[in-house]
């Protein structure tokens, strides 16, 4: 190991195998369909003929998550990664209640984004799942929304792990923070829209804002945007602002602390 010459992009991270990469890509495709099927279902398709669409995806999403987690951890997640996952999930579960109650204050994403950045996409994906699962278990918030939340948060952390590397200089660190902040804003808004989409067909079934089965893309998109505007845009913008602020405030410290641990864990 020539540790002195390595760039941040090749920092020690838990390894991800190609089969796990393939599963992640497939699961991303499936998850996108599972959340945005109200927009994508074309008139006359099998999904628009029944009312079981939302239930079907709510049941299949945990299965897909389990398959991906199995592929990611197969061959043994080593003890360091498991212990680190456990502790970081505990931190996620501990900071999550700070965001509950206040409109749009989201205190989980900055941690997921920073951890995904340091420990890599595979670890980030698992952390997104275990963190939200642990927090739901601790607060009694297990419900049909949990698979969607876990899945979306997992991809938020995974995306942060895929961001381009920056050089280990003062300018590089500033650039890194800027990239992370932009990503944080983008990811928070997208997360809000996708979760809205997943809950939309349950939440409201008739009226101007309701999902029209077989209504086609443009009809349902305008209804969805109106629904988002009416219900959750304030929350989504609040989430984006708090995440960006927290990333900028805590980023330098957290990145340093976590990198130190990753170095000590000595992942090959």
């Amino acid at each position: 190991m020539t540790r002195t010459t390595e760039t941040p992009a090749t920092r020690p991270r838990p390894a991800v195998r190609w089969k796990a990469v393939l599963s992640l890509a497939l699961a991303a495709g499936f998850g996108l369909v599972a959340m945005s099927w109200p927009l994508l279902a074309s008139p006359g398709g099998a999904l628009t003929e029944t009312t079981s669409g939302p239930w079907l995806f709510a049941l299949l999403l945990p299965l897909v998550t389990a398959v991906v987690l199995l592929q990611l951890t197969d061959g043994g997640l080593d003890a360091r990664a498991v212990a680190m996952l456990g502790v970081l999930s505990a931190v996620v579960a501990a900071v999550r209640p700070f965001g509950a109650g206040a409109a749009g204050v989201e205190t989980v994403f900055f941690l997921l984004i920073l951890a995904g950045r340091v420990f890599g996409p595979g670890f980030g994906f698992i952390l997104g799942c275990t963190g939200l699962f642990a927090s739901a278990l601790l607060t009694g918030g297990v419900g049909p929304w949990l698979p969607y939340q876990m899945f979306a948060a997992a991809f938020v952390a995974l995306g942060a792990g895929l961001l381009p590397g920056t050089p280990e200089t003062r300018a590089g660190r500033t650039t890194e923070l800027a990239i992370l902040a932009v990503y944080a804003a983008f990811a928070s808004l997208l997360y809000g829209l996708l979760l809205n989409l997943s809950f939309w067909p349950f939440a409201i079934t008739h009226g101007n804002l309701a999902y029209v089965p077989g209504g086609g893309f443009s009809e349902n998109l305008s209804r969805l945007l109106a629904y988002s505007l009416a219900t959750s845009l304030g929350w989504d913008i609040g989430r984006a602002i708090t995440t960006v602020v927290l990333v900028l405030l805590t980023g330098p410290l957290l990145l340093r602390v976590m990198r130190r641990t990753a170095r000590k864990a000595n992942w090959a």
Partner: protein, 366 residues
């Protein structure tokens, strides 16, 4: 009682029961049935729940359900919905321009529309309350033990998280006390970051490395002797299942594939993926301390939940009277008092059986 050690019901049985009740609620819009489901769930929760921290979840979800009804009503008043002849009051109305999809805001609020919105909100509230009942009844730690053995590493991580979270709180107290003893009472965020957040995180992450060393020294994470063909079979079935699920989802969205074929693709690939997980779980050589068995009483709890679904199916079936089938989805225009479908009501009453089957675990059972 043959097994004095384990007296409480399996958490998976409670989730099965609650999800069956929720399915029954999803299959009807009849307010009497929905209120009956809420009452049954409340009865079982009050009789069977323990006195653990999560046992209060039912009340929380009851409030969430009430707010769901309120939100649904507010939506109806502002954005409109179904209309009827009985105008209760009129709001000033505005029509949005065409680029904003031409919605009408405000306008007449009718009794029929308000009732339809209330039924709809009640249905969502009932679903939420069923979930709340499961949260109140099922112990999350025991639920975690039912995670497939193949996901062993992930469930260990969650167990670590559940036990570390209280330590974090304790760590915050310790660091703050030490800080105060040093005479540092600054409230500036930068100072707090440096002197509180940073030590806590260092502490937690260093502890994780110590934990990892402890786990490794006790043999955790050793290479398990899984034969290569078995490993390849697992991986192949998982990948094939995943590809099939993606293809099935794609086929369900479009109109090009006939519906039976699309549904069959989804079902078969889900089966393959489940097989892959089960196969991988069989191969994992981990022993379990005090395995949680799914006993006859657990099956009875699940079956009583299924009775509610069967009841709603029978009410909608062809041999039931037309009045009964119509009562599952009562019309709100013209305004009438909805009938009570007998089959469905009977099934939902059967779902209250756990209140008699399961002894209350209040007062000291583990």
């Amino acid at each position: 009682m043959t097994n004095p050690v384990r007296r409480t019901t399996h958490p998976v049985a409670w989730w099965g029961w609650a999800l069956f009740l929720a399915t029954a609620a999803g299959r009807t819009g009849n307010p009497w049935l929905l209120l009956l489901i809420i009452a049954v769930a409340g009865l079982v929760v009050t009789w069977c729940r323990g006195s653990e921290p999560w046992s209060g979840a039912y009340r929380v979800f009851l409030f969430i359900g009430l707010s769901a009804i309120a939100v649904r009503m507010a939506f109806y008043v502002v954005f409109g919905g179904s209309d009827g002849p009985t105008v209760l009051f009129s709001l000033p109305s505005a029509t949005l321009p065409a680029w904003a999809a031409g919605f009408r805001l405000g306008g007449d609020v009718t009794a029929e529309g308000a009732l339809a919105a209330a039924y709809d909100g009640l249905r969502l509230a009932t679903l939420l309350i069923c979930v709340g009942a499961a949260n109140a009844l099922a112990s999350p730690r025991r639920l975690l033990r039912s995670v497939p053995a193949a996901l062993y590493e992930v469930s260990v991580a969650v167990v670590v998280a559940l036990s570390v979270a209280p330590q974090l709180v304790e760590s915050v107290g310790r660091v703050r006390r030490a800080r105060a003893l040093r005479g540092n009472t600054s409230r500036s965020p930068a100072n707090l970051m440096r002197t509180v957040v940073s030590p806590i995180l260092h502490d937690a992450l260093d502890r994780s490395l110590a934990l990892a060393a402890a786990m490794a020294s006790r043999g955790y994470g050793r290479a398990t002797g899984i034969p290569a063909p078995a490993r390849r079979a697992t991986e192949a079935s998982l990948l094939i299942g995943l590809i099939g699920l993606c293809a099935g989802a794609y086929a369900l969205l479009g109109a090009a594939t006939p519906a039976p074929l699309a549904w069959a693709t989804v079902a078969v690939s889900a089966g393959i993926a489940v097989f892959g997980i089960a196969f991988a779980s069989k191969r994992v050589p981990h022993t379990r301390y005090r395995p949680d068995r799914f006993g006859a009483r657990d099956w009875a709890v699940v079956a009583s939940g299924a009775a509610a679904v069967v009841g709603t199916v029978l009410s909608g079936a062809s041999f039931a009277s037309a009045v009964e089938s119509a009562a599952l989805w009562p019309a709100t225009n013209p305004l009438t008092v909805p009938d009570l479908p007998m089959w469905a009501a009977g099934g939902i009453l059967l779902a209250a059986a756990p209140a008699l089957l399961v002894p209350s675990s209040r007062g000291g059972t583990p």
